[in-house]
Each structure stands twice: as C-alpha cells, then as structure tokens.
Amino acid sequence: MQIEARKYGLLDLIKIPIQAAPAAAILVGLHSILAGIIPTIHVLVTADFIDTAIGILQGSLARSEIYSSLFAVVVLIAYSWVAAALANLINVKFDLGLQRHYHTAVMEKRARLHYRHIENPETWDLISRVTSRPEAQLTGGYRLLISAAAEILRIMGVLGILISQVWWAALAILSFSVPLFALAVKSGKASYEASKETAKYKRKSYYLADVLTSRETVDERTLFGYSDQINELWHERYETARRIEHQVIKKWFVRSKASGVITALISVLIVVVLLNPVLTGALSVGLFISLVGATFNLVQMMSWQLTSYADQLAKHREYLRDLTEFAMLEEADSAQMVPAESVPQFRSLEFFNVSFKYPGTDKYVLKNLSFRMEAGKHYAFAGVNGSGKTTITKLIAGLYDNYTGEILLNGKSIREWHPSELKAMLSIVYQDFAKYYITVRDNIALGDVNAIYSREDWQINRAISQTGLSAAVEKLPQGIQTPLGKIKPDGYDISGGEWQRIAMARAIVNPAPLRILDEPTAALDPISESELYQEFERISRGKTTIFISHRLGSTKLADEIFVIGDGRVLEHGTHQELMALDGVYAEMYESQRSWYN
C-alpha cells in the first residue's frame, strides 16, 4: 500500500480500510449493516411474541403456540449478543491491519519527503497532524460512515413498518425529520469551526501551565518568584478559552436536546396516530406495543447520534483535506537509496556564485558564495553564528536544490550526480547529530550501511579506541552489544560527550572520501574539544576534511580557512595569510586570543 499523490475524499474512508484489511473491513461493515436491520426484525418478532401471549391468555391460542415465538426472540437476542462480542474481536483485527499497512504507508511517504518540508514549520505542522496515529483516523472514519448507514437503515426499517400500517403517518414524520437532520449537519460544521478558534487560547494557557510546572523553567521560576502572577494570567486565559468553549458546548447541547425533544413529540404523535387502528383492531396490540417501544428508543438515539455524526464527519473531512495536502508534498528520489557500494573518488568541490534562501523566507542565507576545494587537504569554515556555515553542508549533501549558481563535485553539477553516488561521497557529523537508541555496534556500523550486517567487531573496536571511547564502552554491561538510550529495557544511558564520540566513530567507519565536521563539540569543554579535533585530524589523514567551528583555535590547523560572513566568503587563506591580511579573521582571532594573554 502506498500514499499516492491525489485528492482524498470521503469515499477513501471506505476504500483504504478495505484495501488494508479486506476481510476484517467487510466483516465489520456487514455486522454494522445487520445491526441496522435487526431492530426492525426485533419489532416484528416481539409483536408476534406479545400477540401470541395475549392470544393464549385470552384462550384463543394453545399454550404450545408460544414456543416458536419465544424461540425467535431468543435467537434474535442471542445473535445480537454474540455478534457484538465477535465484532469487537474483528475490530481489533481491523485496527491492526490498518496500523500494519496504512500507518506504514504514511511513514514511508514521510520518509520520502523532500527535506525542505521537514524544516519548514508550516508543512511540518501538517505532517505532524496527518501522521499522528493515522490509522485511528481511518478506522474511525470507516466506522462512522458504516454506522451512519446502519442507523439510517434502522430508522427506515421502523418507518417501513409504520408505512405498511398507516402510510401517511410515515410521510408526516419524514417531513419533520429531514429538515431536522439538515439543521444538525449544518450546525455541526459551525461548532467545529468554533472549536478551532478556542484552540489558540488553549495553546496559550497550556504554554503558561508549562512555564509554571516544567523542569526547564524551575530555576528562573523559583528565583524570580513569578508563579503567583503568572498563575493568575494562566487562569485568566484558561477561563477565556473555557467560556468560549462553554458557549459552543451549550449550543451543541441545546441543539441535540432540541432534536431529542422534537423526536419525542413525534413519537407521541405516532402513538396517537396508531391508537385508532389498535382500538379498532386493525393493528394488533403486540405490534402496537413493540412499535411504541422502538420509536421511543429511536428518540434517545437520534438526539445524540445525529448531531455527533455531523460533528465527527466535519472532523474527518478536515483530516482528508490534510491528507490530500500531505500526499501532494514533493518527494526526493534519493530518500530510500543506500550509498553506492563502490566508493567514488573525490577530486574537487566547487561552489560557483551560489545564492540560497530557505523556502518560505525572504532572506538570502548565502549570497554569491564561491570557493574551491581539492582532494587530500584540510579546510575550515569560520564565521560568527548565523553566517550560513551549516547551510553550506546542507547544500553539499543535496538536501536543498533550490539554490542558484553551481555546485560542482569533480567538475560535475551535484544536481546531475546519482543520489547514491553523492551519498557515498561524503560523511557529515552534524551539529545536531543523531543519537540512535540502538546498540553501540550498530550506532557505529551505521556509518557504512552497506556493510552493516557484515562488519567485523575489530573494525568497530578500532573506531572506538580512535575516538577515546574504549574506557566508556568497557564499562557497559554488554560491551559493544549494549543498546543505548532508554528504548530497550536493558538500554544504557551515556553522557553527551560520549554520544558525541559515538557520532565521530560513525564517521570514521564511513568510507566516504570527504568528511565534514560541523561544530560537533558544543557539549564539550575546551580541553576535550581540542583533543577531539586533534584526534580527528590525525585519523583523517589522506582524506579531505572540512571543519566548521567558531572557536578559531581549532580551525588553525587547516590548509585553507574560509571566513564566511553575510552569506559569502569574506576572506580565505592559511592562518598566517589571514593574520597578515589583518581583516575579519584577524580581529576574531585576536579577540579570542586576548583571553589568554
């Protein structure tokens, strides 16, 4: 099953479940439809039973006549009960099927998305909405549609019996009920809109509640002692949201109970209409009694269900709209590809007049950026925060392609490179590197995914010792087979610095000829930082490396330093050349050095 890029409509609430779990979906549907028909049969069987009982009582029928009627009643009740229990079981199967197929399909679509949708807050919101328990949305929608159909059958059935007895009464009732139903559907939409409005106020009050109780704020909260005042503000916001919601709910209740009262009146009306036939003997007492019972039961149902169906339907439509939008989001071809097995040779990387801004923003992060890098050398990017250093790594990795200018790898535009070749070309240790909660071994072996299952332990161990992790790994209960993080029950937590080294070890295992290190040392103190850089530099001899840092001491070793500012290269050269230039770099360096003079 796949999420196709097309428009999704109400019909898909039926189609997708049938596709995902055909047997269960059909059984669930069948049961609901039968549950809609049964009440009608129930009315007839009950009528027969009561009439027979009365007949026996009056002496017109033999006592043995009752057994067939009683049997019918018993069978019907037994069916309803057992079927309900079985239906619950099938529903479980149904839910599991959708989770297995639909949820997985949604996840796959998400994994294929173009990277820009991940960083863009708006599309990310959309993605989060569509992908949080998506199977529940569909099973809910399917059940809603089926049970609405069943409910209509149920009403039709009772009306059908009425028509066969007093045809005009049924017409009268229909002419009442149809506008009522239309009204319910219409205001269902309105109340959904209103509840969306309160969401904003609620978010504000949730936020303050978080400020008042969360661990992150405890220091300032306690020291500044703002709890009392913020608490009042919170309560004010909470009450604002609550009052708006209160009004909406009030309307909802009035609406559904008004239709309840009206249906009750209609029922009384039906009874009045039926009275004459029953008194004249045209309608049997049994049928009269069971019809009255059935209509009064309808009241209870109609008063709640109709309005709630209307509300739920509005929500499902909203979900389908979101799903359509999600399905239409562009995908990246490279998403599911593994790096090429044969590692390509790296000769040069060149940016030529590259300009770039993040989608949905106006500000150029890179502006006419040009530089050239050759194989086998060490490079560094230096610059203040926000100068665009990290963005450069994203462009090299092919995560964004909406730049202007040219990025040439070995003289060929990276747009023309096969994605798996490109992946095989570079390894990056990001500033916000991933902490995978899997075993130490897998965490490191992931650096070369083509050999993940065949990688030898000694290779892992070498990477571990090269990054100074040996002591930490020895302490782990199962050595390199210890799962990290708190996902597995026997998982083990390690410190931020150790995670950092794991990320480095992953890069070491990676056979890619170009290595990028994007300020991966934020969690380290300066001593550990310099050790790590030195070590990495040593390991990477023979490879081409790019260091990104704003601590200039550590970038000094590079063969060439590019000073980035305002989205372009301000200065470049060796440390000595840049110092001699006495420009931006020299100023930054002097300022940092001045701490130690």
Binding site: D219, E220, R242, G386, I487, H550, W595
Partner: protein
C-alpha cells in the same frame, strides 16, 4: 506495593478540593443526577401504565380518556427525561472544564513551593510531569463515582423497587445476570493492564524506529547514511512482535467474554421465562410484561457501560491519579527567618551536596567565603560541580551536609518568601518566554512593573529596539506561534540579560549563558557585565578561562571540590589545575 493510595482516599481528597472550588455547582449536578436517574425509572413505569390502559381499552374494559392520560404522561416523562439528560450531561461537562481551572491553580502554587531539587529526582519528576494529567483523571474519577451514586444508583434502585413489586424473584435473577458481566470486565481489566505493561516497551520501540526514519532530529542523518532500510527492518520486526502480542491477548479476552456472555444469555432467558409464566398465570399485566421486556435490554446495556466504560476507564487512569496525589504531598520548604542583607556576605561551611538518588557527591566538603561586592569566577571542566555550587549559593538547593550562610543566616532557615530577595541571575538554559518583550523582562520582578527601569535594563543588555525586529516595541510578542516574531539566539541572549538586570539585586549570577554564542559576543558580554556589577556581588560561571580574568578571585573546581582560589596571576604561578587548563586552551592561540 508501596506508595499505593487507596481509592476512597483519593476520591475523598479530590471531593474536598472540588467542594472548595465550586460547592453550589457541584451540589446542583448531584441533585440533577438523582432526578435524571429517577426519571429513567419513571419512564418504564409510564410505559407500563400506558400499555395497560391500551390493552384494557382494546378489550373494551377501559376508557379512552385513561389511554390519553397515559399517553400524555408517557410523553411528558419522555420529554422531561430528555431535558434532564441534556442538563445533566451539560452540567457534568461544565464541571469537567470548570474544576481544572481551580485544580490547575492548586498545582501551579504547589509547583512553586516544592524544592527545586525535586526536579532532578527521576522518580519525583514523573509525578511532577504527570500531575496535570493526574488532576484531570482524578476529577474524572470523582465524577464517575458521583454519577454512579447520584444517577445509576437511583435508577437501579427505582427499577429494583419496581421489579420487586411486580414479582420479588425478578430482582434476584437480575443480579445473577449482572455477575458474569462484572467478572468478565474485572478479568478483562486485569488482562489489559498486563498487556499494557508488556506491550508498552514494544510500542515505544515501534514509535522510536519510526522516529529514526522520519523525525526531524534524525531525518537528514538517516537519509545521508542511507539507513532507511535498516530502520525499516527494525520497525517491522518490532511492529510484528507488538501486533502478535496484542492479537493473542485480545483473542483470549474476547473468547472469554463471549463465553461469559453465553452465561448471561442463559440468565436473560430465565428472566424471560419467568416473565412469561408470570404473565400466563395472570400475576403481571400485559403492560408490565411489555415494559419490563423493553427495559431489560436497557438495563443490560447500562450495566455494561458502567462496568466496561466507567470502571474500566477508572482503573486505567489510576496510575496518573497516584502521581498527582504524590505530587501534592511533595515536601515544601519551611524556613521562617526573614532574610538579612548581603552586607554579611556569603559563606560555605564544609558543604556537601548529592542529588537525590545519587551516590556521588556533586559537591564535596566545600568551604568558601564571598565578601559583599566581590566578583567571583567559577571555572572547571564539564561536570566539575560549578552549576550546583551556584544553585546552593542563591538558595535554590539546600546542602546535604554543612551550612550555607547567606548574609549570616543559614539558608535552610530562611523563609521561601524572602530567600531569593535581592538575588538575580542568568542561567545556562535561560528561558525564551513566549510572551511580549516587556513581559519577558518584567517576569524577573513582576511586583515592580516599572517602565523606566525596564528601559535601563534593556539598554544595559545592549538590546536594540529596532522597528524591524520589534514592530510593536515593548509589546512585541516574542513567538511566531502566538502571532509574534522569532528572535535570533543572540537577541534572546540579550533579552535574558535584560531580564537578569531588571530584577533588583545585590547579588547577580551569570551561569554560562554564552555557550551558544560566538567568541566576539562573549567577550563583549563579560566585559559589559563586569562593568555593570562593580558595586554588586557577582558570580560568573564559565569553562572558557579567558573570561574568568575579569573576576576579583577565581574559584577552580574539579570533581565537586574547590581545588584552588585566587587571582589569575596567583593561580598561574601555582601551576595547578588552573594553569593546566589555561595552557590547554591558550596553546591554540599561541604563535
């Protein structure tokens, strides 16, 4: 199990809170509930009355006016019970939304009073995080109990009385029918709780591998590594394991349920037969027969609803309710002393501190005296205990051993209201409040909301109020989520500094708020800071030794101990830890 708080104690406790919050409304809900419950019973009675009148009118014994009266009564009861139903549900719903407003205030006040160190204790943190949810659930619990007693009990009471009047044995048989329903639900509850325990780790695994594939944190790295297939495999394996587990348990419980339903069904038929024979023997009328026949099903479905929905849900949420109760019982600080001024300086007498549940000492026999007006820098590697020292210094944490004196008074004996007076700080993880700029600064001292003071603080922090970044000046909302603006890291930094400066203080603490900032900025901030706090007691925490030089004295920490105190020159001469660290950092800038 320890820490188990019994159900009735929970209900009683939350009842007291609700009664204190809105006594009238709560009583009204109870009252309406009782009437509502009775109205349902009355419905059956009206039904019987009406059917009897029809039956006798058909045979010509009864009069037609009685039939019409019966119908009118039935109609009135039916409509009345509809209205009551609406009112009862609506009012319960209102209660559900109204009470959390009061409980929330309760929670927030409590959160302000518990010891900040509770947030560092894993077991307590769970209670704190789940308190909010637990409060909602305990309200739900109370409402279920109240509805059981005020609505279902009157209804079943009425029906029992009604059936007893018809034929005493009917009640007994009804009870027999309910028992299987009850047992099934109890077993199901237990099985499900176990399933939850067993499948929760599997579910977490499934969710986690999905995150590895497509969550923001992992997206770019997983994609670049080409690790999609690897994680998909893990995901599918975990998913299959989870689904198998779930299916086997569900199959078992459902089959058991079907079996129990068969038992109930037998009971049901028994009642039917009893009714039938009673009718045949003329013990009950046609009307009562029909009315009872009609209401048995209703009673069954209500019973099912109570047991599976209400009671089932109740036990499911009990965990978080206990979190909430334990949260309410967390210890609060109880000092009574009014705080004396900083004139007396600060002193650590042989202070040790361990985080709760931890064996290692974060601070190990620390002795330190800080004179008023002094600027102190605390340096050391990650995990040396710098931040812990600061937290004890401002009184956020209390020592495990030894005494911290603030202005001559034991920090343990100072009242929570006055201990933080005159102290301000900017912490490593300063907050980015999603409030207006003005509120973001004022929040450090909400009792004194002063405009000129605000402007001075903003100026001190070098925060420029240009039109582009702050379109509404001080009223600009600093969050895009709430229709405001997003600030850069550097701008937030300055907002945090302004916040720190705004609070009236004699002591100011700067706990490495510069980790994410570039070196040029950092140097500027520290120099500015030194200049601003010349006449105050000031503490700077840093691991970049270059910045420490502006201090009067430098405190060097290593593994929870103070290893050296002195000026930069003294410490360099000593050739100890400080000189070693300094050299390591300075070598990068040599030559």
């Amino acid at each position: 199990m320890k820490n188990q708080i019994s159900l009735h104690k929970i209900v009683w406790r939350i009842l007291k809170m609700v009664m204190a919050a809105c006594p009238l409304y709560f009583s009204a809900v109870c009252l309406i509930g009782v009437i509502h419950g009775l109205s349902w019973g009355l419905n059956t009675y009206a039904m019987q009355f009406f059917f009897d009148s029809v039956a006798s009118a058909v045979t010509g014994q009864g009069r037609l006016t009685v039939v019409y009266w019966g119908l009118a009564a039935l109609g009135a009861v039916s409509i009345g019970s509809q209205v009551l139903n609406g009112m009862h549900n609506f009012m319960t719903n209102t209660l559900y939304n109204l009470v959390p407003g009061h409980l929330g205030k309760h929670i927030h006040r409590k959160a302000a009073r518990i010891e900040p160190v509770c947030y560092e204790t894993p077991e307590l943190l769970d209670d704190i995080n789940k308190a909010q949810k637990g409060a909602g659930n305990s309200l739900g619990l109370l409402i279920v109990v109240v509805v059981l007693f005020t609505f279902y009990l009157p209804y079943f009471g009425f029906m029992a009385w009604y059936l007893y009047r018809l034929k005493p044995i009917l009640i007994v048989s009804l009870v027999f029918i309910f028992i299987p329903v009850f047992i099934t639900q109890l077993i199901r509850g237990a099985v499900h709780a176990r399933l939850e325990d067993e499948s929760a780790p599997l579910r977490r695994e499934v969710d986690y591998y999905e995150k590895c594939i497509c969550d923001r944190e992992y997206f770019k790295e997983t994609r670049l590594l080409g690790a999609y297939g690897f994680f998909k495999q893990l995901y599918l394996t975990a998913l299959n394991a989870m689904q198998e587990k779930k299916w086997s348990v569900e199959l078992k419980t459902h089959l058991m349920e079907i079996g129990m339903k068969m038992l109930t069904l037998l009971g049901y038929f028994g009642v039917l037969y009893l009714l039938f024979t009673a009718l045949m023997n003329g013990e009950i009328s046609i009307g009562s027969f029909a009315a009872v026949f009609g209401s048995i099903e209703l009673m069954f479905s209500i019973m099912d609803e109570i047991v599976s929905h209400h009671i089932g849900g109740m036990t499911k949420d009990l965990g978080t309710v206990r979190n909430f109760m334990r949260f309410l019982d967390l210890p609060e600080r109880t000092g009574e002393l009014e705080r004396v001024s900083f004139e007396g300086g600060m002193r650590f007498h042989d202070v040790s501190f361990s985080y709760p549940g931890s064996e290692t000492k974060a601070l190990d026999h620390v002795n330190l005296t800080i004179k008023p007006g002094e600027t102190i820098a605390i340096v050391g590697q990650n995990g040396a205990g710098k931040s812990t020292l600061v937290k004890l210094l401002v009184g956020l944490y209390l020592p495990t051993e030894g005494v911290v004196e603030i202005g001559g008074a034991d920090s343990r004996k100072i009242s929570p209201e006055s201990i933080y007076k005159g102290t301000t700080g900017v912490f490593q993880k300063y907050q980015r409040y999603k409030l207006t700029l003005q509120e973001n600064v004022w929040i450090s001292d909400l009792e004194a909301q002063d405009q000129t003071h605000l402007e001075t603080a903003v100026k001190k922090a070098d925060l420029e109020l240009d039109q582009e970044t702050f379109p509404q000046g001080y009223d600009t909302m600093l969050s895009r989520e709430f229709d405001g603006v997003d600030l850069s890291g550097g701008q937030w930094q300055r907002v945090a500094l302004a916040r720190g400066f705004y609070r009236r203080h004699d002591l100011i603490v700067l706990d490495e708020p510069t980790a994410a900032i570039d070196p040029l900025e950092e140097t500027r901030i520290y120099q500015k800071f030194a200049e601003l706090s010349r006449d105050k007691t000031a503490i700077i925490v840093t691991h970049r030794l270059g910045s420490a030089k502006i201090a009067d004295r430098i405190v060097v920490m290593d593994q929870g101990r103070i290893v050296a105190v002195g000026t930069h020159e003294q410490l360099m001469r000593e050739r100890g830890k400080y000189a070693e660290m300094y050299q390591a950092q300075a070598q990068w800038y040599a030559g």
